[in-house]
């Protein structure tokens, strides 16, 4: 073992209580950093998963009065060339109404390719009773709406719609068979969407083989680049020429994004201040240690230890405090997070023990600890043995 490291360890061992206290102090600081960092990261990704993860992130719609998109299969074929997309699903959506006694309720009748739509909306696990619609005129209804209408599985539900042909409006209606109830954990969706097959809506509204939108989801890593992916699609497919427009979640959720961003920023601030206080703590403890150990340093210098080795003692001390503090802090931080998940009733936040974040935090804290030791190390290097030896 190099002599400066051996001396560093012996100095620690000699003042055990002081060493244990500072390691506990550093550990608590780092545990806060890990706890806050991981909790907010997890909160962010849970938020994103809950609000954006299960909805269309990029949507193609008609840019004219006529909402119908013709030849959508060809567009989907083209879209499949984009590796950035993980799900593509066509939707035929029409506004409709339901009569509940004298009251009429506005709903959105959503005709979906159930298998494709599952990849975006994750429908299957959200059906708490019954099953997905598969045949013609089968539909599922959201929790709030079904409660309001007191529906049961296999009930018939008449849905009214309007078809416009030229200037003329024609009322149409179909009786749908209710095959399931879903819960998207969003009251506005649960009370408005009636989900059925694409063919049912096309038939009811006389849409032939057209749809009203194509919905897409991007790779998880590209979530925050969805706007760029959308731009890319728009250019390559020349959507404008087909009177189509493309939208993405980023442009439509500016407020949410701002919120997430400022949350991330405040998390960074907290972590930075914790780091600063840890560094100041280490630096002051080591500065005191240089004074406490100046007799030893003086004699070592008289015996010929180099100034470099004399400063290395304290750099090693900084390094060791950083390593022990990181180990203690990460253990404590992970324990706090575990405790948090045990204590919180909601499973809204899924804690993601991001190993890269943890390792990066450990590396930063260890690096900062060594930096904190620089000033004590310089003091040690400059210490003049004569003063110490004569002082007795």
């Amino acid at each position: 073992m190099p002599l400066p490291l051996s001396i560093a360890l012996r100095f620690f061992k000699r003042s055990k209580a002081q060493t244990v206290l500072i390691v506990i102090g550093i550990s608590i600081g780092i545990s806060v950093q890990i706890f806050v960092g991981i909790l907010l990261q997890s909160l962010q990704s849970s938020l994103i998963n809950n609000f954006i993860g299960n909805s269309s992130q990029i949507t193609i719609e008609s840019d004219t009065e006529n909402p119908y998109i013709e030849g959508y299969e060809a567009i989907i074929d083209d879209l499949e060339e984009f590796d950035e997309l993980t799900a593509i699903s066509a939707a035929a959506d029409r506004p409709a109404t339901i009569q509940d006694g004298l009251k009429s309720i506005n709903v959105l009748l959503r005709g979906l390719e159930i298998d494709d739509a599952d990849e975006i909306y994750n429908i299957a696990p959200r059906i708490y009773e019954g099953e997905e619609p598969s045949g013609d005129l089968e539909a599922i209804v959201g929790k709030e709406l079904s409660d309001e209408l007191e529906l049961e599985i296999n009930d018939g539900l008449t849905i009214f719609g309007i078809i416009k042909i030229g200037e003329e409006s024609i009322a149409v209606n179909r009786s749908f068979k209710i095959v399931g109830f879903y819960d998207f954990e969003s009251e506005s969706i649960n009370s408005a969407w009636i989900i059925t097959t694409i063919a049912s809506v096309q038939e009811m509204f006389n849409m032939n083989r057209t749809v009203t939108s194509i919905e897409m989801k991007v790779e998880k890593d590209l979530l925050f680049e969805a706007d760029e992916v959308a731009d890319d699609i728009e250019k390559k497919l020349d959507l404008e020429a087909d009177n189509l427009k493309i939208s993405n979640w980023i442009d439509e959720n500016e407020q949410l994004l701002n919120g997430l961003q400022s949350q991330g920023l405040s998390s960074l601030f907290i972590q930075a201040f914790v780091l600063i206080s840890v560094v100041i703590g280490i630096s002051s403890v080591l500065a005191i240690s240089v004074v406490q150990k100046q007799q030893q340093l003086g004699i070592l210098k008289a015996m010929g230890i180099s100034n470099r080795s004399a400063s290395l003692i304290f750099l090693f001390q900084g390094l060791l405090l950083g390593i022990f503090g990181a180990i203690g802090g990460i253990s404590l931080g992970v324990f706090f997070l575990w405790g948090f998940t045990q204590a919180s009733a909601s499973d809204f936040i899924v804690i993601d023990y991001n190993p890269i974040f943890i390792l990066a935090s450990a590396a930063i804290i260890i690096g900062a600890s060594v930096l904190a030791a620089v000033s004590p190390a310089i003091k040690s290097s400059r210490l003049n043995p004569i003063e110490v030896i004569r002082a007795g």
Binding site: Q296, A302, M303, G304, S309
Partner: protein, 233 residues
């Protein structure tokens, strides 16, 4: 050029030393001093006479304002801090009044420190040599004690063993018995004498006690920064 056999292990030529604390204070005036290999000398003088400054300069812990210093034939007043540290490690063994063992280490580990500072690899032979030194000074029984678990006399002997570890040409002892009782004091001087005879080590004792100085072969008295008396027995 003919190689002259070195006669003096320490040679000081025209040493002046000033301290600058607002005003310049001269503490050493034109000191010329030569010490032979294997000699046993003492430097005496009242406190404030400049003897400690002289010792620090001989020990290369301090530099003269003017003049030349040769240790073991090498000029040291122009050396870098790193060269001086290496020279001290190899050539000079220090023994101080307040023992100054590292309390974090055992007696044996303290004795080994100068060797470890020299960055050479610790071998079984080195360790045996350190144990032999502890035997020689008669404290082998406490070799695994931490410094604080030894008597003052034992600590000072350990410090002497440590000073011997790297086989230095010179042992520089600054009031080595200042904190010891008469019995321990005599033991330490007997030991220094033994070392001087056994290893032919040059020994310089700095003291303010005439009685102790008289045990050495040469007494150099410093007064007001000048050599006042140089007595060779």
């Amino acid at each position: 050029m003919a190689i002259k056999k070195k006669e003096f292990v320490i040679e000081l030529k025209n040493i002046d030393k000033f301290y600058y604390t607002g005003v310049a204070t001269q503490v050493l005036f034109d000191i010329n001093l030569q010490l032979k290999y294997g000699s046993f000398s003492s430097i005496v003088g009242p406190s404030g006479s400049g003897k400690s400054t002289l010792m620090n300069i001989i020990g290369t812990l301090d530099k003269p304002t003017k003049g030349e210093i040769y240790i073991d034939g090498k000029r040291t007043d122009k050396m870098t801090k790193k060269e001086l540290a290496e020279l001290r490690n190899k050539t000079i063994g220090f023994v101080f009044q307040f023992h100054y063992l590292l309390p974090e280490y055992t007696a044996l580990e303290n004795v080994l420190l100068p060797f470890r500072i020299s960055k050479e690899k610790l071998t079984k032979e080195t360790k045996n040599r350190a144990i032999d030194l502890l035997k020689f000074i008669g404290i082998e029984s406490v070799k695994d004690n931490l410094a604080n678990n030894m008597s003052g006399g034992q600590q000072q002997r350990t410090a002497i063993a440590r000073a011997l570890m790297n086989n230095p040409q010179i042992i520089l002892a600054d009031e080595p018995t200042g904190n010891l009782d008469t019995d321990s004091t005599d033991k330490v001087y007997d030991l220094l004498r033994d070392i001087n005879e056994e290893f032919n080590t040059t020994i310089i004792v700095i003291t303010h006690e005439r009685r102790i100085a008289e045990k050495t072969d040469r007494i150099i008295e410093i007064r007001d920064g000048r050599i006042h008396l140089d007595l060779l027995k």
